[in-house]
Amino acid sequence: MSVKDKLFESVVELEEQKAYELVRQLLEEKSDPKEIIDILRKAVEVIGEKFNKKEYFLTELVMAGEIFQQSAKILEPALKKEAIKEKSKGVVVVGTVKGDVHDIGKNIFVTLLQSAGIDVYDLGIDVPPQNFIEKVKETNADVIGYSGLLTVALEAMRETTEKLKTEGLRDKVKIIIGGLPTDEMWMKEAGADAFTDSAFEGVKIVKKWLEEG
């Protein structure tokens, strides 16, 4: 098995330390850092598929995100040296809406978006509508993600969408809402385009939107 295959396998099996050693080894062997990132990305995708098949759970997604981020840190100097600047696949603004502070799912969504090469602006928790608006204007975002767990979060989601409309921004962005209780009823109420109770599924939807342009 080649070192690259070994790296792929160790990430899929979530053997964290082994994965970092292999990333370092590949760098020493002068492998193309861009190619290493692609291997990591493919491995995270396979982990996502395993999550879908219920072979893996949230813990495994979190570990996958961690291994990707730590590996990317190891690769950073080499990527800079080679002056490889990846073209961004799109911009997403994410936050847990006003009145709600739950962020487990949101944090995983952010990590998975980053590992898919998407630029993410995470506004944190308890985010007032105005902060979403300002960030969308500043970054020219393609997608907004509202996160929330409490039923009261719905009111804040609706309010944020209304503000987007007033500002003439609604047609320029797609909106996805995420959280365990979200469903079609929530989506309509929040004036959103999609809903998901899974960070992994959410990333799939966003990727599809960005590909469609």
Binding site: F57, L58, T151, W186
Partner: protein
């Protein structure tokens, strides 16, 4: 203020709930809307008063009980204070966990919310597992959120909660929701570490998590019994969230969660308490483990993520089940939608007893939707005339 009397039925709520829990058919399916801060949306009482003022709180709960024509499990006024201003290192304790409470870092009408500080600056670092084993948990206390004033109030409020608890059980003949609550060390550590950090720990330090859980388990059991002894209560809640299929694999569940959960529940049942398993998120693929718990002494609350029909199939002869109604339905739905879902659960799960219908009710729920669930249980849910 006088309330309109509740219409008498063949059984009292206490009889009905205990019969269903023993897996026999009562007069009708018991119904339990789990109401915490909802009255603040309808009458002149704030969420802060529901938390901190046992008289106003009891009034609010009696008001909603009568407004809805009666239901089968109620909350004692002031019980929430005992839960959040709990001096022990527990999940609900504002002394330990970063709970924002109404009137404290939140508006007077906002419900309590947990801030996990999951990524930056967690309450516990990964090096603190050893510190717990050496020093216990008391060093984690933070008196900024709850302090000496609260300690002094605890005794006074505790006495009131006892009075209110007894009033529900003997005057109204309605069981109280929970007189004490604990969670397994696994969930406690997850909250202290922040869930994202903790999920990494599951891979990096599984042996430490086990070691600390072994160290804490007996203290956790005692913490729950403090609540019931203080309020002369009968019911204990064992909560679980992070051990479910929404978080961890079966392997991690078996290693790090289940043995401790089983130990707590078995001890409380053996000590004669009514035990509620309060299991949020999705437990469907691990329901069969619950067959290892004592039969006919427990009721299990599940939210809409666990498949209640599967639960009936697996646990029907062993454990009373409850829940699964979707909370947002009570805010966004219509009475017809609520009635339809209530009837479906009754149709598929009521046979032979062992079912309560219910849900955790959002604070901004519509009363007509609550009434639709309650009335469906009182008419459609009748076992015998």
């Amino acid at each position: 203020m006088e309330f309109e009397p509740i219409e008498e039925e063949a059984m009292t709520s206490v009889e009905r709930v205990l019969t269903a829990m023993r897996l026999k058919e009562p007069d009708r399916v018991p119904v339990w809307p789990l109401i915490d801060f909802l009255p603040a949306h309808y009458i002149d009482v704030t969420a802060q008063e529901i938390l901190e003022n046992p008289d106003k709180s009891q009034y609010a709960y009696e008001w909603i009980y009568h407004k809805l024509g009666g239901y089968d499990i109620a909350m004692a006024g002031g019980a929430m204070y005992m839960m959040y201003i709990n001096p022990f290192p527990d999940y609900f304790s504002a002394y330990y966990v970063d709970w924002r409470l109404p009137g404290r870092m939140l508006g007077v009408n906002e419900p309590p919310q947990l801030v996990e500080r999951s990524l930056d600056n967690p309450l516990l670092t990964e090096n603190d597992y050893d510190r717990i084993i050496n020093e216990g948990l008391l060093w984690l206390a933070n008196f900024d959120r709850a302090g000496m004033g609260d300690m002094t109030k605890l005794g006074k409020i505790g006495a009131k909660v006892e009075e209110n608890t007894i009033k529900w059980w003997t005057y109204y003949n309605v069981p109280t929701f929970t007189d004490g609550a604990v969670i397994v060390p696994f969930d406690l550590l997850s909250v202290f570490r922040g869930s994202t950090n903790f999920m990494k720990d599951i891979y990096r330090y599984p042996d430490k998590i086990k070691e600390v859980s072994d160290f804490l388990i007996d203290d956790v059991i005692l913490m729950g019994e403090y609540g019931v002894s203080k309020m002369k209560g009968k019911t204990l809640l064992v909560g679980a969230v992070r051990g479910s299929a929404d978080f961890i694999s079966i392997k991690h569940f078996e290693d790090l969660f289940w043995p401790y959960f089983k130990k707590i529940v078995t001890k409380y049942v053996n000590d004669g308490f009514i035990v509620q398993l309060h299991m949020d998120t999705n437990w469907t693929d691990r329901l069969h483990y619950l067959l290892e718990l004592p039969k006919g002494k427990i009721y299990m609350h599940m939210d809409e993520r666990t498949d209640i029909f599967k639960a009936k199939e697996i646990l029907g002869d062993h454990m009373c089940i409850q829940g699964n109604m979707k909370p947002s339905l009570f805010t966004l739905g219509t009475p017809a939608m609520v009635e339809k879902q209530t009837k479906e659960i009754i149709d598929k799960c009521a046979e032979g007893g062992g079912l309560f219908v219910g849900a955790e009710i959002p604070d901004n729920a519509k009363l007509e939707n609550l009434k639709a669930m309650i009335d469906a249980c009182k008419t459609y849910g009748v076992y015998r005339k």
